[in-house]
Symmetry: C2
DNA sequence: TGACTGGCCTCATTTTGCGAGGCACAATGA
DNA sequence: TCATTGTGCCTCGCAAAATGAGGCCAGTCA
């Protein structure tokens, strides 16, 4: 599902904290490498959200440090290497909790902002 | 509308950026003073979200500096003073934009996380 | 040769919330 | 009387996260 490009750019401050949720959700669909993640996010959001490398890699490494994901290098046919990240069982569980949290967060804000137009 | 207390506490990082949206939405219902805002949020979220003073007052002052809200002191019957904050026309406009942004943000995350259970 | 894309990463800065604290006064109650 | 609690304003140092900029290297294509 590809979103249309929104008229208003999304405030970066809103994005905070949603990155692990995004990453784990994505990796749920299968292992991916960094560059691929960025491209996927960019395309699916209609170009709105360009996940920055400076946000992505630290987030991935942190998820790996907590063993929610693992990584492995894979050599392509042309000899170049890519580092793939794959979700782990612990990551699955964490994702479930995060999703719940996300829904609660949305409910909360909605309670003040009012339901969507 | 009062929300039930969620099992999972909401990650503070998620809250980032949503504060101005919350404040402007609240002030849309009428002028309020700081302490009152905190109490209102606490009650309406079923006690989950206790807006901290260290987040509230700086946020209010910033909104005032940008003239999205104004403030005025009002003396109570017992002689004590309260500082009320009221939304301004510019704040109304900003709120409208923020709401749109919020919806887009939710759509975006939902596009990865999937629709709510 | 040089430019562009793919691909990994780090680092300083900025923004924001949090926790803790300070200050002041009223009402309550032992 | 005095201590506690509640009301009500605020600031400050810290921590977490995203950004923008940059570095590094290897293919590809003109």
């Amino acid at each position: 599902m590809i979103l249309p490009k929104p008229e208003v750019p999304v405030d970066r401050e809103l994005l905070k904290g949603s990155t692990p949720l995004l990453l784990l959700s994505l990796l749920c669909e299968g292992p991916m490498y960094g560059y691929q993640i960025i491209e996927t996010v960019r395309q699916r959001t209609g170009g709105t959200y360009t996940l920055k490398e400076g946000a992505l890699y630290p987030a991935l490494h942190k998820l790996e440090a907590t063993e929610f994901i693992t990584s492995y290098w894979e050599t392509q046919e042309n000899g170049r290497e890519r580092r793939y990240y794959a979700i782990q069982p612990a990551g699955q569980a964490f994702l479930t909790a995060k999703k719940k949290e996300w829904n609660q967060f949305v409910d909360m804000v909605q309670a003040f902002v009012g339901p969507r137009a």
